[in-house]
Amino acid sequence: MNTSLILSIESSCDETSVALVKDGKTLLSNVVSSQIESHKRFGGVVPEVASRHHVERITYVIDDALSEAGVTMEDVDAVAVTQGPGLVGALLVGISAAKALAFAHQKPLIGVHHIAGHIYANELVEQMQFPLVCLVVSGGHTELIYMPEHGVFEVIGETRDDAAGEAYDKVARTLSLPYPGGPAIDRLAATGEDTYNFPRVRLEPGSFDFSFSGLKSSVINAVHNAEQRGETVIPENLAASFQASVIEVLVEKAIRAVKEKGAKQLLVAGGVAANRGLRAALQEAATAEGIQLVIPPLDLCGDNAGMIGVAAHHAYVRGKRDTLAMNAVPGLSLEESMTV
């Protein structure tokens, strides 16, 4: 039973998304209703506002996804939903809707780890070859994951302080760039040069962990020092210097992990995987080292239910089933989440 039609729901942060995924390979539909315009006025995602928008949007998005895919609930084999990590109030809207659909049509319910979803977005580009290493970079995560087979995740490196995406947001705020900060810095960096020589934080030799809080402070200090001296910073060079420091460490550790683990592929996942500077640097390094690099297309890097449906397919095939008592787990561990 390697065939499946899965309806999946993602509502862990500020996107309400529903997808229909065939056999873990084909997106029949992947509808994403973004709240970004609403949260812009606050300069970041406000959990209560996000939860309210999810309730307003959820059945519209389910309906759009089903009709775009041209299927009905009767055709669906299982209902999948992001169980965590994420904003608890936001997660609960998706979970409540998923349970209602599963109960109403007597279909199995499958909870999916959000990051497992991001990783599995790559399966839509290239079939996964094990063992593999995945670099996960998003607003809340910076991790190196080792996968010996489907559904098994070993965190071999993670950030000890800020996630890369968080550092991007804070630096963007320091430079008064519009929300969301990541893409804004990426665009600005493309026009500047690495002139500020910010530190590259590598931690102990051999470590796959990351640290971005020192870098973030260096950037903020550079801006403040310039202000005090009555000078102006060159924003594009500051952005380019910050981005160069982040990317150099990410690429270096990812490539080293692939070699040390004898991985067949390097995957990239998470919202920051949309960063053009990072994509280019990884591609260059991977080509030089003869490593197969897989990066999802831009529209699958952000949060979407399609990736949740792909991860759910592999969990479904392995027999993972959750009960109608499933709860949202805002701090869900990846290593324990997707086992049956």
Binding site: I62, G89, L92, S96, A100, A325
Partner: protein, 218 residues
């Protein structure tokens, strides 16, 4: 008409099933720790007890709030998704109106859901008809402006005894102090558009209120 009724607006979790206006099954937990975990299994158990399958349902009634933001979102999302996917009419009822329907009385009924620091979500009903709109307000101010003569109080009475002592009020007996999902059986009018169905928070999210304030102050 086989009807599913749900109330998750406060710490109480209540589910009931009725057919032709007769209650078939009901379960109420007065202090539910986690509606997210308990609601769906409770619906499933009650349906199994009366041997109904989901496709036999004909109507859904749910409290829309005010109350716990998370609680009402769980109830409303569950109800609207069921109504959408089973193509059923959906009815939303104020959680304060449900509480006011619990005691059998001719007096006007004041329903209170504690919202801390002297504030409450307040409803004012008589024979299931609203005498004022549901409000979020300081209870002392609200009583001064609205109450006339004797009234009956339901809901969270304890935090407001001090304020209430200046008024001529009657306390609902403990068993009728809070509504149960089965009390929703009397509310069967006013079906809503399922997709546009939303909770009644009665309050903006804090960040939104502050943002609006900032806008108004230029």
């Amino acid at each position: 008409m086989k009807q599913l009724m749900i109330d998750t607006a406060t710490t109480r979790l209540s589910v009931a099933l009725s057919e032709a206006g007769e209650i078939q099954a009901e379960a109420t937990v007065m202090v539910s720790k986690n509606h997210a975990v308990t609601l769906m299994p409770m619906i499933e158990q009650l349906m199994a007890a009366v041997k109904w399958t989901p496709n036999m349902l004909e109507r859904i009634v749910v409290t829309t709030g005010p109350g716990s933001y998370t609680g009402i979102r769980i109830g409303v999302t569950t109800a609207k998704t069921l109504a959408y996917t089973l193509n059923l009419p959906l009815i939303g009822v104020s959680a304060l109106k449900l509480m006011a329907a619990a005691p059998n009385t001719d007096l006007p009924v004041v329903s209170l859901i504690d919202a801390r620091r002297g504030n409450a979500y307040i409803g004012y009903y008589q024979h299931n008809q609203a005498l004022t709109h549901d409000q979020h307000a300081p209870v002392a101010d609200w009583l001064r402006l609205n109450s006339q003569g004797r009234f009956l109080v339901v809901g969270d009475i304890e935090p407001f005894r001090d304020v209430l002592k200046d008024y001529e009020y009657v306390e609902a007996p403990a068993a009728h102090r809070y509504g149960r999902a089965s009390d929703l059986v009397v509310f069967s009018d006013e079906t809503s558009d399922v997709h546009a169905f939303e909770p009644e928070y009665l309050r903006l999210a804090e960040a939104e209120a502050k943002w609006l304030e900032g806008q108004n102050n230029g």
